[in-house]
Amino acid sequence: MQSLLSSIRALAVRQHPGDALRCLHLTAVTEAARKGTREKARKKKVKVEVKKVGFIPHNQRDNKINVKRADKHVDDSWKQVPKDDVYVGRYYRWTVYSVAEAIQCHRETHHPSMYNVPNAPLNVEIELNMQGEKATRFVDNFQRMAMIPHKFAHGEERKIIVFTKGNNEIIEAREAGASLVGGVELIKDITAGELLLSDYQYFIAHPNILAELIALRGLMKRKFPNPKSETLGTNLAEMITKFSNGISYSASKDEYQQNFGLISACVGTLDMDGQQLEENIRYLLQDVDTMRPKREGRFINRVLLKSPPSSEQLKIDPFVYVPELWDKSTMKPKREPSGKKVEAEEQDQAVAQQASN
Amino acid sequence: MAHATPQGIKLLNGWKRPGRFDKGLGAQLPDAYKKFWREWKLTTPAAVHYIPKEQQWERDEVTHAIKPVQNIPLPLIDPPEAHQGIWGGEAVIKGFQKRHQTKRRVPHFWVPQLKRSVVHSQVLNEYMSVVVTERTLEQIHECHGFDHYLLKNLACDLRSALALKMKRQVLQALQQGCPNLADEPKLQKEVLKEYSQYLESYTPEEIDWYGHTYLEAIRKLQNKLREAERVQPHKVEFRSKLIDQLRQAGINEAGSATKLEKPATTDGEHKDSDIEALTKLESPSASSSWLSKINPFGKKET
């Protein structure tokens, strides 16, 4: 017994003088520690880097930590609805205009006799409730391209590069208005280095060329064509018109109030036809609605129409074009049958196993 | 033993300790006051600080045995301040709180939240500033008026002496036909029509004795008894008789037969006023001639 112990001692451990008792234990280094203990110890050792904030003068120091901010989701349902024909706006609920009325109001202020900017851009500000399915989780910021039926000059440079095989498709793409169309040879050019991908903002591809396109995945990174962002598809002409004429908008959460999201987009100019502007707004709202989280309550809170240089904000009702509340019935039928099927299968398997045993 | 009790040999219904109405002046108080006292102190008021169980029988939670429901009211304390205001049935509760299972019970007083507010009586045509509670105002709103609140609720529900005094004043005003509203006859008529229904359940004597505390009632009774036994002193009676006889006999100093009577004076002030009057008659009047002013027996000026 003693000889066995002494041999192990020689193998494993440094001898501490007067440590006879400890040698008997065959220290923790040789044994496997309880699961997770070593991980824990390792994590503890990792140095936490303290961010150097720099010097903040004393009157700005605790400013931003515990400041009580007003809720950006403005709720004026406690206010009265105006009954007189002339009234002071601040004591009543905001009037909800129809899109036509709102455009008319803007046109009045931008008339040649007043501001004289009849071709001013019409901006839409959409306030969103970014609450996710859970109370503490929020919808991520997203950036999308909304397709609109009536194009207008957006003043952005949008170069589209299209990857596709097949001559028909190439011709189709060229006609649609892509800046560069090509197939395998285009990919080879890029990998060779003759063409710079950074010149082009949007990449559209047909699934038939996907195999070769994977070579460029590292270069394109986030802009790689995928069906979710609708850059990968068969209907190239449609995609190209969408990306060249559509509205590019991004929804960003407020840094202090996580459940408040804002989209600011231009849907046209004031000299476009009212109907066309309305259709553009409708398509934009429907596109925003696709990013809706699956929970009760509103997603789009408020939609305001603004038009620089005027600072007027005119509220419109988006729920004419988009459903206000999430409809539960659209979701359930998909889940239940599959769930039941899975359970049934599991039950069958269990029964089979028992039978075999 | 039984022979020493008021009931005597007939001590069948139990030993009755004499209360306030069984001895002294209390026993002489009229039935009207005793009816009011019963209504105020001896009827169980409506539950304010607890929720009584409506049903008659209930099951015990542990044993599941059926037992009768006995709603024993919480003992309430009316401090003197409560009688200075109208607290609307609320009062101070003295008791204990058991804040945690392992901690000893702690004495606690639950006191209602008071505020000073104005209350308007239509019958008395007055605005009064009183210390009230939220509950008082709610009850006034429920009864559609302060007068209705006072008249609809029993004395036990009103609790405070001030409220009961006001109720008496309101009843008296209604009895007399709302003298405070004499300037607005139309409103007076409407008010009388609206509130006359409450007069039916009270006799005039009851209204007179309503709303007094025991001591006030005793005082009132005392004053009444004193008034009743007050006798005019014999000398006053004999003097006035004498003066009348002299007057009849035609003596000038006694005054003319058609002389107007002096206004009645209280006993304490002018006991010998009749004598003073006679002496004044003897003294010469101010408008006599200079002759009467000279004193024939005065010292000559040298």
């Binding site: 002339v86 009045e108 006799s113 007043m114 | 409506a46 609320e90 003295k94 606690h108 939220e134 709103h141």
Partner: protein, 251 residues
Amino acid sequence: MLKSISQLQVHFNLLKSATSLQQQVRTTFILKRKYDPLLHKTNENPRRMRAKNFIYELVEDTQVKKRPNMEVVLKTFVEGVGDKGDVVSLKPNFVYNKLLLPGLAAYKTPENIEKYAKTEAEKSTVQHSSAYAQRTVNMLESIVLAVVMNKDQPWVIEPWHIKASLRKAGFHCKDECITLPNERIEGPDLKKEGKDFYCTITINKLEQAKLKCRLHHWSTDPSERLPYVLEHWKIPSEPLLGVNLPSEKNV
């Protein structure tokens, strides 16, 4: 002596107070005994209570709950609330202190609603079109409206210009409510810059407000704009020559 009589009457009285109980509003703290006293024989007095029976638990403190709004019938026109005969629902404190006690309103009962309803004669002579019209008039008369017109393009003042300027200032109105002065105001004319004229706003076809408007010229090109005047409404007013107050007939 009295107590025995009272015990017989207790049930009767309990019944009496119970009827008012059902309608009672509990605005106070409500306690509950932790240990109920033992049952007593029916016709006897309740048992003597021990300290244990005085341990109470708070069931509810109704002081902290929000009280529902109270409904009353207005007896006369009250600004900001309503007209005679209106049934109004507001916070109980406001109703009691500002309407019931001063005698401007009465409790809502069918008799009161009938009594204070507007008669035919009163309905025809409308003095106030709405509870807030007078306040709107006061606000309109206190402002100096900045009417911004173009510096380069020719224009003539029309009602919709005033309407748009009012909307920018936070007042909402319709074209029909605006009555411009009889003279045409044309421009651009830099002599008219910063000068005032009056126009009439008719609210609910009844109340009229005299609105002071001040002309400003604005150029689309930032380099040609006139320098910004800080708080132009505080500058003493200069009337636009040849422009009089519009006639005060109801439109």
